[in-house]
Amino acid sequence: MLPARTPSPSFPVRFSSLSKPLLVLIGVAGIFLGCARASKSHETVLTFSGSALGAEGTLVAKQLKDFMRLNPGIRVELQRTPDDASQRHQLYVQWLNARVGNPDILQLDVVWTPEFAAAGWVLPLDRFGPASSEFFPATIVANTWAGRLYALPWFADVGLLYRRTDLVPREPATLHELVTDAQQAMARPGGPRFGIVWQGARYEGLITGFVEYLGAFGGRILDDSGRVVVNQPAAVRALQFMRDELYASQIAPLDVLTWHEEEARFAFQNGTSVFMRNWPYAVGAMSDKTQSRVAGKFAVSPIPASGDPGGHSTATLGGAQLAINAYSESPAAAYKLIAYLTAPQQMLERAQAVGQYPTRQSLYSDPRLRTAIAIPPEDARRAIESATPRPVTPIYTELSEILQIELHRALVRQAEPQDALNSAASRINALIDRTGMRKLMSAARQTTDVPDTAGAGAPLPADRSQ
C-alpha cells in the first residue's frame, strides 16, 4: 500500500510547539492528502516505467528517490513493466493506442524509437534543449526521426569480439586474420573445438551479428535515402562469409544456428571456443573463477573489418533510451527526470551498480569508470564509437523479421546467399509499399533537408490508406 510519508522539510509548521495528538492528526491528514494525489498542493505525479529487476531495480528506486529529494514538487511512481523487450513493446503499443498518459516516461529499446516517433506516441525533445552533442553520435542517430530527437540514450550495448588471450595474444586486424587465428588455435593439441561462436538462431540476435559482418564488408541494409540495398554485392559477401565460417573454414559449429547469447556464453566460458561475438554483459559472469574456466584469460575488442576495400570495423548498437509519452500530462517534469537520469553522475552510478556502458563520451576519461565496467574504458569507447544503429525506420520490427527468416534460410543452406537476400529485398520493398513508408520517409527527409540523391523522381506507389 502507501509508503509512510514524511512531511517535507518545507512544511510550514513548527513541530516542537505542537502537542503529540495534534501531530498525529496532522500526520493522518497528510496521509489522506497523499491518497487524494495531493491535487490541492502543487505536486506533480510522474510514472516511470522500465525494467526494474534485481540490482537494476534497486538502482532505479534509489535514483528516483534522489530525484524527488532534489525536486520536492514532483513525485515519481515506479511502474514495473516486463523485462522481456518484446512483451514490454506489446504493452506500450496497447497503452499508447488507447492514448493512456501513464507511464509518463517510457524505456525504449534502441530500435523502437522511430516507430514510436512516427506513430506520434512520444514527444520530440528538441524544445527542451537536450545536450545531444555530449552523447555518442550513433546513439543520437538511432533516436532521431525526421530530423528531430525523440529519446535520450540511457545506456549503450555494443557487440564485442571476445578472444582467448592465452591462445590468440593479439587481436585480429581483419576477419580473414580471425579465421586463421581460430584455425591455428583449434589445431593446437588440446585446443578448443570451436573457433568462433555467435548467435545464429532465427531471432533479433541474428540481425545484430549480421549487421557487424555487413559493416565489415561495407554493406548496408538500407542506404541513406531509405532504399533497400541488402542484396548488393557487399551484403552477399558478408552473408557468404558467415556461411563459410560454418561450412568452409568450419570455425563455427553448426550448433550456433540454434544459439542465443547464453548458449554462446556457456560454450566460451567452458573453454570450448577461441572467439565469441556477444554483448558486454558476458564479461561479468565469465570473470567469476567459480563458474568460468576462462577467467583472466580473455579480452574484448571491436569486431574487425573484413580487409576488403569499403569495409570497416563496426559494432551493432543496442541499449535503452528514455522518451516521453505523447499523452503525458506533465511533459516538462518528465523531461526533468529524463535529464536527471541521463546526467553524468547518474550514468556513472549505473555503470558502477550494473556495469552498463554510459552513452556520454566524457565519462570515458573519468577514472571512476575504469573500476565500474569490466573492460578498459578505451576498449569500450572504441567499440561504441564504431557502433552502427540498425536501420532507423518505423517498420524496423517487420523488416527484421523478414531478414531473420531469409538469413537463417541461407545459413542452414535452404537457399543461396544471393537468392535469400534478393528475396529479403523484394519482401522488404513490398513492406515499404504496403505501409506507405516511401511517402513517410520522403516527408522525413524534407524536414531534415538531406539532399535526396536517389529515387526522388520515382512516382509514389499507390497508398492503400487513401
Binding site: S86, Q90, V93, Q94, N97, E115, A118, A119, G120, A201, R202, Y203, P253, L254, D255, L257, T258, E263, P394, I395, T397, E398, E401, I405, E406, H408, R409, V412, Q414, A415, T435, G436, L440, R464, S465
Partner: protein
C-alpha cells in the same frame, strides 16, 4: 385457438428460459467471431497509426492467397496433423487393446500411461528440446552409441530432422489420450460377440478386423475429430521446440497468425488469418460429421 395460444405461451417461456444461455453464447462466441470478421476487412496496423483504419474489403484475404509463407504454413500444419495422428491412432489402438485385457495391476498401468498427457505442453516441449538440443543431448548420445549416427548431429537446422522431435513429442504426449478414448470404445463392445466368434472358429486377427474395428468406429472418429482440430491449431509445442525454424520450415498456421497478430500487431491481416483457420477447422469438423457419419450424440445402437 386455445391450443395455439398455449403453444405460443410455452414457446415464449422456452425462449425466456434459454435466453440467458443464448446471450452468453452470443457474447463469448458469436460477438468475438463477428468482430474478427469485421477487423479482417480493414487495414489496421496497431503500430502504424498513420495508415488509419480504412475499410479495404477483401484485400487482406487477397494478401493471404498470395503469401507463400501462409501456404507453406498450411502445408506444414497438414503434414504435422496427418503424420502425428496416424502414429497416435496406431500406437493408441495397440495400447488400448493391451489395456483392455484383464491382468494384474491393470488400474495402475492405465493411470501410469496417462502421465505424459498430464504434463503441460510447454514443459513437455522443453523436455524434448533438451533431449534433442546440442551435440551432447541424450538423443545424439544414444544414436551414436548404437552406431546409428557416426557423429552427433544438429537436429534443428534441417527441415526433415527438425520435424522428428516435434512429431515424437506430440505422439509421446497425446497417444495416452487417444488410447484412453479408444479404451472407452472397446469397453462398450459386447464380449459375447467374441465368444460367439470363437465358437465359430474365428481367429484373433479375424475378430479384430470384423468385430473390434467396426464397432470401434465411432470412438475412432471422435478421436479423429478431436485430434485433427488440435493438430490444426498446434502452437505451443512448435513455438517452444523449433520456433517454426529452420527458416520457416516447421511453422504452422497458428504460429504464423500469432506472429502477424501479436508480434507485428497487424490486426486486420491477423484477423483475416484467424478467420481462414476458423473456416478450415469448421470445414473439417463438418466433413467428419456429415461425410463420415459420426454421431456425437452416441445413439449409434
Amino acid at each position: 385457438m386455445k391450443k395455439i395460444s398455449r403453444l405460443g405461451n410455452e414457446a415464449r417461456l422456452g425462449w425466456t428460459l434459454v435466453a440467458p444461455a443464448l446471450i452468453v453464447i452470443g457474447l463469448i462466441a458469436i460477438f468475438p467471431l463477428g468482430w474478427t470478421v469485421w477487423e479482417s476487412l480493414h487495414l489496421h496496423e496497431l503500430r502504424m497509426p498513420w495508415l488509419g483504419q480504412p475499410f479495404i474489403g477483401l484485400a487482406n484475404y487477397v494478401e493471404i492467397a498470395n503469401d507463400p509463407r501462409f501456404w507453406g504454413a498450411l502445408g506444414h500444419t497438414a503434414f504435422f496433423t496427418v503424420v502425428s495422428i496416424s502414429l497416435e491412432l496406431l500406437i493408441g489402438l495397440f495400447l488400448a487393446l493391451a489395456m483392455n485385457r484383464v491382468f494384474r495391476g491393470r488400474g495402475f498401468v492405465r493411470a501410469a500411461v496417462l502421465v505424459p498427457w498430464a504434463i503441460p505442453t510447454v514443459v513437455a516441449a522443453l523436455l524434448w528440446r533438451f533431449i534433442f538440443e546440442s551435440e551432447g543431448g541424450i538423443a545424439n548420445a544414444l544414436l551414436v552409441d548404437a552406431h546409428i549416427l557416426r557423429q552427433p548431429m544438429v537436429w534443428f537446422i534441417e527441415a526433415a530432422t527438425a520435424w522428428v522431435p516435434v512429431i515424437l513429442a506430440d505422439v509421446w504426449k497425446t497417444t495416452p489420450f487417444v488410447a484412453l478414448l479408444l479404451l472407452a470404445g472397446l469397453q462398450n463392445i459386447d464380449l459375447s460377440l467374441y465368444e460367439a466368434a470363437a465358437v465359430d472358429g474365428a481367429n484373433a486377427w479375424w475378430q479384430l478386423r470384423h468385430i473390434t474395428l467396426p464397432l470401434l468406429k465411432p470412438a475412432i472418429l471422435v478421436t479423429l475429430i478431436f485430434r485433427t482440430l488440435d493438430g490444426f491449431r498446434v502452437f505451443d509445442l512448435i513455438y517452444v521446440l523449433t520456433g517454426g525454424g529452420p527458416g520457416t520450415s516447421t511453422e504452422p498456421v497458428a504460429l504464423y497468425t500469432f506472429n502477424a497478430l501479436l508480434q507485428n500487431l497487424r490486426f486486420g491481416y491477423g484477423s483475416a488469418l484467424s478467420v481462414v483457420i476458423f473456416a478450415i477447422t469448421f470445414g473439417l469438423a463438418l466433413l467428419y460429421v456429415r461425410g463420415l457419419g459420426v454421431r456425437l450424440g452416441g445413439d449409434e445402437a
